[in-house]
Symmetry: C2
Subunit: 459 residues, 2 copies
């Protein structure tokens, strides 16, 4: 008997799951229907700033696979511009609205996969609905922004919020020759790293001519004839012809919550190791699904394409009749703004404290190549280390020349709860153009170990 | 009572140990005398090719700390141009020759640290003593090569052996506008990676105008009036005005062996976890000391500055009265030739077979950035994976744009014997300018896992 899989959401988490399920079960065994609210499937949302900044020419470059390709190559019935408005778990069906003609329909399912993603946070500030205030999350946002820029030729862009997207969008707008102001209420941009590491990002932004106003809280938007003309803040108005919200995103979990599915403390849909929700045969993956953080041992909501791909694949294997588990995340993230790269993994100071760890921190500065080679760049690494045990809890890196990808070694080290005693001895690659004989990763671990040893000596 | 530490060898492994010991025990407690055969202490031997190629201007840039600095800042009595010719373990003394005046002396010790390093392999081929045939290992070799080049203005350089040093020296000679031929008897340069990965290095060498002759065995040297004029091979003579040997190095363990110290199967000095040799109070570290390979579980001889630094530090902590162990190596190494980077960790195919593993290999090609971004470079990764368990045994990477340092994540993964099932889920950093959403490291692990799963299905 043919079963039917309904997928809600046509991006990474949805379509990688659909593809995996199809690899394991052919069309005669499993019918697959995927509903996507927008116009595109399987695209790189993370590529949006590069498209807007002009680094990527064509929107189509960001699309990995089109609806037609899914239909023809994999017999997956993708319906774009179709929004699922309700899930009925008892009746095993979803209610669907065709956004083209407004018509409604009902689709039954045996297996359901919820991959509704995340949406940019839009606080209920006065004027937030003004024309010219954009969030950035789906490919449709690009078209809206491009159309607005073409029509109104804005000269002053204000980015509200200095997270990953905010920084990338600030760089993109500067690349389009707009005068850019970044408004952030924290002491430094990018709060996912500690303020002492965030200062380098401010500097990088300022070097490309971006004005960075930290400690400034946006409160609303002023508009003229419905079109934004300024961001209102606790330090006065900041004039703006276009505004991009970079306040982070939140999981799109309402549909699931309304259906009675369990929602985690993070606000994302609760799932088990196999990406199964609280209801039988109902899976979820990607930005809308909660992740287990291996260091804090808590459920977290993290919107990242790399997780969406991995989780989607795991869900797909299970929906296809296989067995596969997702082991969780360690909170790795990175961003590159001009030449400056920033990366983090594990817990930062605030997160370590919130998770109940007692910790100390160590910072070391070094270079990306042997110091005697021309072109060696600075790299600064901060570790958050558990008191007593020396266990690595988190790492943050700021620097140039692929400094950020050095975080991967720490991510692998966190996987097995390594201590700084071990880390400083790990056999990392050395060649003068690639690293100093003591790699920066080892230097900071050694420095943390020395501090640990002194504290042990004192005890 | 004051004890006396004698250090043989004034480079990384010797002087980092001396410095550590000094940090823990002041001059009133521990007298430290270090003998160095050459003119320099604590220098980067790995920087030699960059000095010869002109990337580094000044020999002094490679010297981290001079004998005077050791004497003044750390009360370490460094005697350069002094060679230790004999160790008498019973009498607890060493016999020393002053290379300046030929005079001899005897120095007693309570603690001895042997850091005699390695020497370039010089096979007993006819003509090897010809003028113009150089090995590259110590800073003195630079001066000899520079002096020879200045005097004879060679136009044709032949590099015999395509290992790390051979490749770096070939690039250096090409940078000096010499016509360069690399002669290697293996099928591809750099035998520490498998031939299917080494092909990319050949291509990189050829792109800088270097002639690469593989499958050609050097047999001797032709000379005129004592000066080299050709390398004799099984495929005829290769004309040469200067020859650099890149045949690898071997541990300088004769002095230790003559004193009756245990030598490991690798030919290097046997040491325990604390870098203690078979004799009480006698330590060894660096290129002359055997390393425990954590994957093969065998003793290996690997000459690398990064190990020398780490081991020297461990020996120094122990000689200074502390307790510290060195956990061994996983065989990580890297080289950059022009824009092409090569790295390896763990075991290659030949090494895995020799260690008795049953394995399969998986190769995947990907890009260093999101494929849609301009400037994304190719990266190729090969894994050696244990049959049945899926345990990672080794990884090799060839590519550009910091491809090589991606090996560090694998090195950390090898530390804890991770399987490809785990590796493909590790939370590595993602941002479009830094990596695709599926990092190349994860892609190759996933591909290996798929193969493993198929083989399990078949079983």
């Amino acid at each position: 008997m043919t079963e039917k899989l309904v997928v809600i959401g046509g991006d990474a988490a949805g379509m990688s799951a659909a593809s995996q399920a199809r690899r394991r079960r052919g069309p005669e065994e499993l019918e697959i229907v995927a509903f996507e609210r927008g116009n595109y499937t399987s695209y790189s949302a993370c590529g949006i700033p590069y498209l807007l900044g002009g680094t990527v020419d064509d929107l189509a470059d960001l699309v990995v696979r089109t609806p037609d390709e899914f239909r023809e190559r994999q017999s997956i019935d993708v319906r774009i511009r179709h929004e699922v408005t309700e899930i009925d778990l008892d009746a095993r069906k979803v209610v669907v609205r065709n956004l083209e003609d407004g018509s409604g329909s009902v689709e039954g399912f045996d297996i359901l996969h919820i991959a509704t993603g995340a949406r940019p946070i839009r606080p209920p500030w006065p004027g937030i609905e003004s024309e010219g205030v954009f969030g950035v999350q789906v490919l449709g946002d690009v078209e809206a922004i491009q159309e607005y820029m073409h029509r109104h030729q804005p000269r002053r862009a204000v980015i509200v919020g200095g997270g990953y997207i905010g920084l990338e969008m600030a760089e993109a707008m500067a690349a389009r020759d707009l005068s850019v102001t970044l408004v952030e209420n924290a002491p430094e941009p990018m709060r996912t790293v500690d303020p002492d590491m965030g200062a380098a990002i401010r500097q990088a932004m300022e070097e490309i001519g971006c004005e960075v106003r930290t400690g400034v809280t946006a409160q609303g938007f002023e508009s003229t004839e419905g079109r934004v003309r300024a961001v209102a803040t606790d330090h006065g108005d900041v004039e703006a012809d276009i505004v991009v919200l970079g306040l982070g995103v939140e999981p799109n979990a309402q549909l699931a919550a309304a259906a009675g599915l369990e929602i985690g403390t993070s606000g994302a849909i609760a799932v088990d190791r196999r990406m199964l929700t609280s209801a039988e045969g109902v899976y979820s993956a990607g930005d809308c699904a909660e992740k287990f953080h291996r260091v804090s041992r808590r459920g977290v909501a993290i919107a990242l394409g790399t997780h969406a791909n991995k989780e989607g694949r795991v869900a797909g294997v299970n929906m296809g009749g296989g067995y596969e588990t997702f082991p969780g995340v360690v909170g790795t993230a990175a961003v590159k703004v001009c030449d400056v790269e920033v990366a983090r993994t594990g817990l930062n100071e605030a997160e370590a404290a919130a998770a109940g760890f007692e910790y100390f921190t160590t910072i070391a500065e070094s270079t990306t190549r042997a110091g005697y080679l021309p072109g060696a760049k600075q790299v600064k690494i901060k570790l958050v280390v558990e008191v007593g045990t020396g266990r690595l809890l988190g790492a943050q890196i700021v620097g140039e020349e692929n400094a950020a990808k050095r975080i991967d070694a720490f991510a692998a080290m966190l996987w097995h709860e390594m201590t700084v005693d071990d880390i400083m001895h790990v056999d990392l690659a050395y060649a003068p153009p690639l690293a100093p004989a003591w790699d920066p990763v080892l230097i900071v671990a050694r420095k943390a170990w020395e501090r640990l040893e002194r504290s042990r000596g004192d005890a």
